[in-house]
Symmetry: C3
Subunit: 156 residues, 3 copies
């Protein structure tokens, strides 16, 4: 898959990226160390509008939880592009840490996180294959259903 | 402790490693960046059989929570060996991130995580000393009691 | 802000650092990999005395949650100084991972985490700007309200 262009895939898939999340306080959305980019935890926001509030397994379905995870991934991708100028600067996704706000007894966090993982794989191919933490939590900022952060390796 | 062999310790302790967890979707169990190996979050599975479901402090005892953490550690060790061929390729464990599914008011996540930390120290000696996050959570994938991920530095 | 000295800021702000947290078991409070320092998760302890127990949004106010996060940050800073000898060895804070023990419906984890982020920015200036995960959790070790870990880059 060495010929895959993430930018070309994004175009072919007709995906519109949200504006990258902004720094809101004394922290930043991205930090680079050597070849690695660390992102802050991102929530399902589209151009400033918070979406997918609620608890997966209660008032948010698994399907909508997956869409929330997908929107988090789009925000991560948008952050990366705002920093690098092109998604084709990504050498490899290293890790996604995902937290799913979970109703009592809800245990399908991996299915929810597939919304993010599958989208990243569609866009980046093998370069999108990452390690993953799929975790539950009782509460998240602004009452959203999913929060995800990423570590990505850039080309040198 | 420079003469310690993790492989020899494993043998001496009579520990049987589980098969390494497989990739289940568009993510992978391990990613390498330079000298570092990142693992996905692993759960207490032995050769495909999920063990230690439940909530620590409710239907899972602290002792069994510790065994669940130990089994997570064995899966992490198995993953490392499947990648490196030998545990003696490990230079240093850097970090364990552990999530313990916790009943209301349960605050002994560190004792549960000692199941993983102590086992790794037994096998790897000083090379096994890691930083650690011991955290509570309300829910985890497949209803298990513990999920742990690791960052490990390999010899160069 | 290249002329900022974190040590001078600490003095000017009149901040007293707690003793650095000690290793309690088969893990360590800090690990270095190349230029990076990873810390264990730290809780709001001052010289061995655990402070700010409880649940934010229930028996702990947002303001006190912020103080708990600030105390976690002081412990992280104390750990770094115990290792480097001087805070001026810090090149850049890379990431804070913060977990806020949250009452049902509490969604202001970012405000709580600002207690840590703002303090680090006051002391380290631009070198203190980090990526951040602000997450909720139901339970934490010893019943504390906040747990935070950090990744910091040292000067070479």
């Amino acid at each position: 898959m060495s010929a895959v262009s993430a930018e070309a895939n994004l175009l072919a898939l007709g995906i519109e990226l949200p504006e990258p999340p902004r720094a809101l306080a004394s922290y930043v959305p991205l930090q680079r160390v050597g070849e690695l980019l660390y992102t802050s935890g991102v929530i399902p926001v589209f151009n400033g509008e918070v979406r997918f509030k609620g608890v997966v397994g209660a008032d948010v379905s698994v399907k909508d939880g997956g869409r929330a995870a997908e929107l988090c991934a789009l925000n991560i991708i948008s952050l990366i592009r705002s920093y690098t100028g092109s998604l084709d600067e990504v050498e490899q996704f290293i890790q996604l840490s995902g937290f799913v706000r979970s109703a009592q007894g809800f245990d399908e966090q991996p299915r929810v996180m597939n919304g993010a993982s599958d989208l990243i794989f569609k866009i980046f191919g093998e370069r999108g294959r990452h390690t993953r933490q799929a975790l539950g939590t009782n509460e998240l900022p602004l009452g959203v259903a999913v929060e995800i952060s990423a570590i990505v390796r850039l080309k040198t």
